[in-house]
């Protein structure tokens, strides 16, 4: 039994979700649901048998790396891990040269995490056969995170159409924020971005988005709130005067969440700084979808790997 074929899917790489149509997005989510069920039932097929998947993580990662690796292995792929520190990368080899070397050894899909925005585009242009799966590039995109967030929200809310989603935090330095904004807006949500001016004002002209620095005002009518990770070094870099100030104005507490719709959901891409973006109590609150976000990581990455594998033979 093979995964459901999506007739509209004709992409070689997954670089971002910005150019995916609503139908394509929904189809990936549907496939994620299907694969999640099959995985739970122990009925996964070897869609990726004979396919070598390379993990090229130029930045540390836990959940993205582990879930990509499990997704690939459980679909029957051979997974090779380019451990950057112990490879020729440490000897100064360029990104393009390293990925071309991986490709020549037979790796057909490269899961790339890189600190520089746009690195996957350069990689995709430089390879002849291998597919690039962007596992996060700089402050630009994190497409599989956006897909698993969209899936989690779609299941919690029934549909994203007309839903009011508040994204709060350091959006300007967040690849998760950018990909989430693309996906949520495309799926019909009404998205509000809130946070300190320097972290959200650059998004003023983002299509379909409203930017509100005052979180308490922005929360009114929210169906879900997604907190972004605050990096302490970024805060020191001028976004907010102090973490204390951030917590006071944009930290999510149970009380603050009460300003949203009753039953509004809480999300966080992780790893969360408890006591900063959200209180420790809230992570364990029934309104929290954080656990489900993580659970959807493997099925969504399975869905993406399956789709790109089917497409691979055309290239």
């Amino acid at each position: 039994m093979t995964a459901t074929r999506i007739p509209t899917w004709t992409r070689r790489h997954l670089l971002d979700v910005d150019d995916l149509s609503r139908a394509e997005l929904e189809a990936v989510l549907d496939l994620g649901v299907e694969l999640r069920a099959r995985r739970a039932a122990g009925e996964l097929s070897d869609t990726l048998r004979g396919t070598a998947v390379g993990l090229a993580f130029y930045e540390p990662s836990t959940r993205t790396r582990v879930s990509f690796e499990l997704a690939a292995r459980e679909l029957g792929a051979t997974v090779t891990d380019l451990s950057v520190a112990g490879s020729s990368v440490a000897k100064g080899e360029s990104l393009v040269d390293t990925l071309r070397t991986l490709e020549r050894t037979g790796v057909r899909m490269i899961v790339l995490r890189h600190a520089a925005s746009g690195a996957p585009y350069l990689a995709a242009r430089s390879l002849e056969r291998a597919a690039i799966l962007n596992a996060g590039d700089g402050t630009h995109a994190h497409p599989t995170q956006a897909l698993l967030d969209a899936l989690t929200l779609r299941e919690a809310l029934g549909s994203l159409e007309g839903a009011r989603i508040v994204v709060v935090g350091d959006a300007v330095h967040s690849r998760v924020a950018r990909s989430d904004l693309h996906a949520l807006v495309r799926l019909g949500a009404s998205v509000v971005l809130s946070g300190p001016p320097a972290w959200v004002n650059p998004f003023a002209e983002w299509p379909g988005l409203s930017v509100v620095t005052d979180l308490d005002a922005g929360l009114a009518g929210a169906d879900a709130v997604m907190a972004l990770r605050v990096q302490r070094e970024r805060a020191a870099g001028g976004g907010v005067p102090s973490i204390t100030e951030y917590v006071a104005r944009w930290g999510l507490t149970a009380e603050r969440l009460d300003r949203a719709c009753p039953g509004a959901w809480l999300m966080h891409p992780g790893p969360a700084n408890e006591g900063v973006e959200i209180t420790a109590e809230l992570s364990g609150d029934p309104r929290s979808l954080i656990g489900r976000q993580v659970e959807n990581g493997v099925p969504i990455r399975m869905a993406v790997l399956s789709l790109l594998t089917e497409e691979m033979d055309r290239w």
């Binding site: 600190a115 925005s117 746009g118 402050t139 630009h140 995109a141 983002w206």
Partner: protein, 461 residues
Amino acid sequence: MVMARFGSLADPSATFALAGVRVIDPATNTDAVRDLVVADGVIRNGEAPAGIPRLDAAGLVAAPGLCDLHTHLRTPGDERAETIASGMRAAAHGGFTTVCAMPNTDPPLDDPLRVRGLLANATHAAARVRVVAAATRGRAGEQLTDHGALAAAGAIGFSDDGLAVASAAVARQALSYLAPLGLPLVQHAEEPNLAAGSLMRGGPTATRLGLGGWPASAELTIIERDLALAAETGGWIHFTHLATAAGLEPIRRARASGVRVTCDVAPHHLALTDAWVAGDRRFAWENGRDPGSGWAGLDPELAYDGTCRVNPPLPTREDAMALLAALADGTLDAIATDHAPHPPERKAVPFAEAAPGLIGLETALGIGLAAVMAGHLELSTLLAALSTRPAALIGESRSLAAGSNADLVVFDPRRSWRVERSALASRSANTPLLGMDLPGVVRLTVAAGRITYDAGLIGSK
């Protein structure tokens, strides 16, 4: 490509006659179709000397030789990117007869011996080399170089280009010391704290791409500061590669109040925009009806191309249009290329790791002509901004009047050429224009009476 031949400043003086060429000479306000006769390197009135054929030049334009105030020759220290010989061939191919070499070499041009050495090595090149020396020792921004000794060695200006002279006190000291020498502080106007972490011009496209945004205030704050310092010291401040509209008004005001201020703009800041980083390849004036272009398009085939990384970064469309207008109204004195060659491995890397800069000597005229053809610049303004106006700033004269030394470019405005590696004389090909067609084919360049480039116009075809 027509068989082309490069010459040098050490060649014998040229003698030739062009019939029916359109002579545009900003020095004498001339725009007329006539014969252009050069005998022994000097422009003559009347008939060609006996035995010299009159070559048909109908449709071609002759203008004074172009003068670039801002070239990175990469010599010494980075000869893989460019050498004096290759850089000056690129100059001649682009119609330039003079280039000013910038001092951010390795080691930097902060010592009179190095300045003399560079000039001595350039006497047989295909264009004149002048030198802008480092304003501070090691370009470290702390202690002035020996401006007097460097001027005696031939320096025509002082700059830490690549970086601003960031300290207000040091900038004030330089302007004050240079005032009696009559030479400019050539300022790369960029406040380093405001520009820190930036990779492209701030705005919707930078936000869209997740690249750190460079705020226009980074340029404006240095301009405002240095205008105050120039006013106070009587020094000459020259702002190079202006890239924002915001700085223009203070420059106009200061000039009107008697401050000695001049400025130049790079061709890419007149025509290319921040949307190019997202893969757009339209000139600034071509996307007027599409203000949201930064959002609509991220072209996966072209986005994040390292050749679009340059400092100051590619401007917004509005800024580019304002800079074009400022060239027309004279606020901007000159077009200077900021020719910045790099070998491929410094550009075929993630955007944040790409070395900033693009080549410009061979594409400046073409970019300018594209703006002229689109109706955003007068041809005579373009040619003045590329030749007589910059030349005057460094004490060179340019004229096509009889009796002048022949220093000129002849180009065919009706033809275009494709920017590609094989068509470039530079050692480097780092430009996002690669693969695009530019108007204006240079047919002949004559520097100091010598033919430095001839695309089959004078020599055998």
